[in-house]
């Protein structure tokens, strides 16, 4: 593996030491590793809704983000909507983008690779006849997602590709999208 031999220590702003010691501690106490991530949503009008995230559960107790974050979702005007926010499927792409990119930074830090810039574009193909109910053979979701990274770093092309590959291997959202998950929806 190529390692940076600069006089300055590699710093991508990721505290890998803390992550590695968390991994060590949590493999010894699996209960503390059980997290619950939560979101809540309120319908506003039409296809416009607002989701918020604030609290979650982890390390054996309730936890809180520093602030409550909210995300407006809607659909564009060509869907006869008012376009007050991103479409939910775009939020999924944003989730994947952020998850993979956080992974790239963490893996780079762990492998002693200094990043200078990281950007990516994501594109998910979709045949909307699925969600419109126009053709029952067409899937509702993406028929595929393409992620294209541009990375400038002190590393060979092979090492950069390995970074990106490893970030997929460790990504929660990548796993959520590529593997099935049981979803239970109930009405109170």
């Amino acid at each position: 593996m190529t390692t940076a031999t600069t006089e300055h220590p590699v710093d991508n702003g990721v505290n890998v030491e803390a992550l590695l010691s968390a991994r060590e501690a949590l493999s010894a106490s699996p209960d503390a590793a059980k997290f619950k991530w939560r979101a809540s949503v309120k319908w506003i009008n039409g296809t416009h809704s607002r989701s918020t995230v604030g609290g979650f559960y982890g390390l054996g107790e309730e936890q809180k983000h520093k602030t409550t974050f909210s995300f407006d979702a809607d659909h564009p005007e060509i869907f006869a909507s008012e376009d007050h926010g991103a479409t939910p499927v775009e939020l999924v792409l944003a989730g994947l983008a952020s998850c993979l990119t956080a992974g790239v930074a963490a893996v780079a830090q762990n492998r002693n690779i200094q990043l200078r810039s990281v950007s990516a574009t994501l594109e998910g193909g979709m045949d909307v006849r699925g969600i419109l109910g126009a053709d029952s053979d067409v899937r509702n979701g993406f028929d595929g997602i393409k992620v294209t990274y541009k990375i400038d770093a002190d590393a060979s092309r092979d090492d950069i590709e390995a970074l990106v590959a490893q970030s997929q291997k460790r990504s929660a959202v990548y796993d959520i999208i590529t593997n099935p998950t049981n979803v239970t929806v109930e009405v109170e």
Binding site: E161, A162, A165, K169, D175, I177, T178, N179, P180
Partner: protein, 424 residues
């Protein structure tokens, strides 16, 4: 019955340990549940050959003497080789002796077997890493009308009911079984998760020759970044075919095996396949190339160029543009699933609390630190990368028998003094 050390398991690991214990004049017995090399006799398919070349079976005091050092042993030849070893070193093996319990006593260990019990000061667990098939959770959801078997139960294509076959797992076993079944005329789908791709031959030499020569196999467990990961790596995707042909996903693809993502679930009559196929293949290609780079660097420094062929790279793993994510069980025609998803050891007889939350014995390079006098051998990356190879177990046995000897001496000193006082 009493002895100083009991070795549980009469395969290559137990026998190599026996050789070293004898050399260090430590009384011992080797307990074997079946015959010598039992797993090799009863838990392997008919056509299997060792994936290490014949020369690479150097055991303490024993090595290959035949005329085909670069060939690959069949299972009968492997059994003969290990049996020959037991004989040549006169190992004190008790065959057909199954251990039913191992427990601590006030002054050592008690090993209970189906033919008597042994009291001893030290114990070496050499019962193997591959006693049971390790099935994924999805195995429990397979519909009843589908036949399932593990790579340990697979023998030959004749045993498999007519119809298409899904082989789950693309390491050494899964790829070889997929290859054999497809060549026997079955339509084979191979579900591919994380795997370790390796060429059989590189620059005119066997890949294992390179890894041996360049010191890759000697890598010490203490120098590895992430030993847990290194110990959990899937087996090398290699096969010991007599013609030395390369077995990889591209070769399987070229004979018609359908490659799909990891089997992630079975729901509403459909196989759910992971969308990660492209990434696991990219990872395997990258890691293979990293190893080849290291080999080239080593060759530049250590070999004259006419000793080997020039460097080259292998074609990237070909993955179809949109591998299927769902496969209807009925229309796929799949009648049989073969699980080639790895193995785990069986410690159902172990009555000492030295296992971690996943059931594996906690150890430091084979020294079971929570239970002094107890040792483990023959596990992946126990002390070095080659620890599970027939070729690698000898060095581990040397190190661990030395530790065991030191420990015995430490134990005996006060005891002898006590005995002395009583006699006078």
């Amino acid at each position: 019955m009493r002895t100083t050390a009991v070795v549980i398991g009469g395969g290559q690991a137990g026998l190599a340990m026996s050789w070293w214990l004898s050399k260090r004049s430590i009384d011992h017995v080797v307990l074997e549940r079946g015959q010598i090399a039992n797993s090799w006799r009863t838990e392997r398919w008919d056509s299997l050959r060792l994936l290490t070349p014949n020369w690479q079976s150097r055991l303490p005091g024993y090595r290959y003497q035949g005329g085909d050092p670069d060939g690959f042993r069949t299972m009968p030849e492997t059994i003969e080789f290990i049996q020959g070893y037991a004989k040549s070193i006169s190992a004190p093996v008790r065959t057909h002796t199954s251990v039913t319990s191992l427990r601590r006593t006030d002054d050592g260990y008690q090993v209970v077997t189906d033919s008597g019990s042994w009291q001893c000061d030290a114990v070496v667990v050499a019962s193997g890493a591959c006693n049971m098939a390790n099935l994924p959770a999805v195995a429990e959801t397979v519909p009843k009308e589908i036949n399932t078997l593990t790579s340990m139960q697979y023998r030959n294509p004749g045993q498999i009911e007519d119809g298409a076959v899904l082989v789950v797992g693309a390491s050494a076993s899964g790829t070889q079984i997929a290859d054999e079944l497809q060549r026997a005329g079955r339509a084979v789908t191979l579900a591919v998760g994380e795997h370790v791709r390796l060429p059989r031959t590189y620059r005119g030499k066997d890949i294992l020759w390179w890894m041996d020569a360049a010191g890759v196999f000697d890598e010490d467990y203490k120098n590895v970044d992430d030993i847990v990961r290194a110990r959990n790596l899937p087996s090398m995707q290699l096969a010991g075919y007599p013609d030395h042909r390369m077995l990889d996903l591209n070769s399987l693809n070229s004979i018609g095996v359908r490659l799909v993502g990891r089997l992630a679930g079975i729901n509403q009559g459909k196989f759910q396949l992971s969308g990660s196929l492209r990434n696991v293949c990219a990872l395997a290609d990258l890691k293979m190339n990293r190893l080849l780079n290291a080999i080239d660097e080593w060759a530049n420094e250590n070999l004259v160029s006419d000793q080997v062929d020039p460097p080259h790279r292998f074609e990237a793993t070909k993955v179809e543009a949109s591998p299927p994510l769902l496969a209807d069980i009925t229309s796929s025609g799949i009648k049989t699933i073969i699980w080639a998803t790895g193995f785990r050891p069986d410690y159902s007889w172990l009555d000492i609390p030295v296992r971690d939350h996943k059931g594996f014995i906690r150890h430091d390079g084979g020294v079971v630190t929570d239970s002094p006098g107890m040792y483990l051998i023959g596990m992946p990356f126990l002390r070095r990368r080659k620890s599970t190879l027939i070729d690698g177990v000898g060095d581990d046995a040397r190190d661990l028998s030395a530790h065991l000897g030191r420990w015995l001496r430490g134990q005996r000193r006060p005891k002898h003094r006590r005995l002395h006082a009583v006699n006078h």
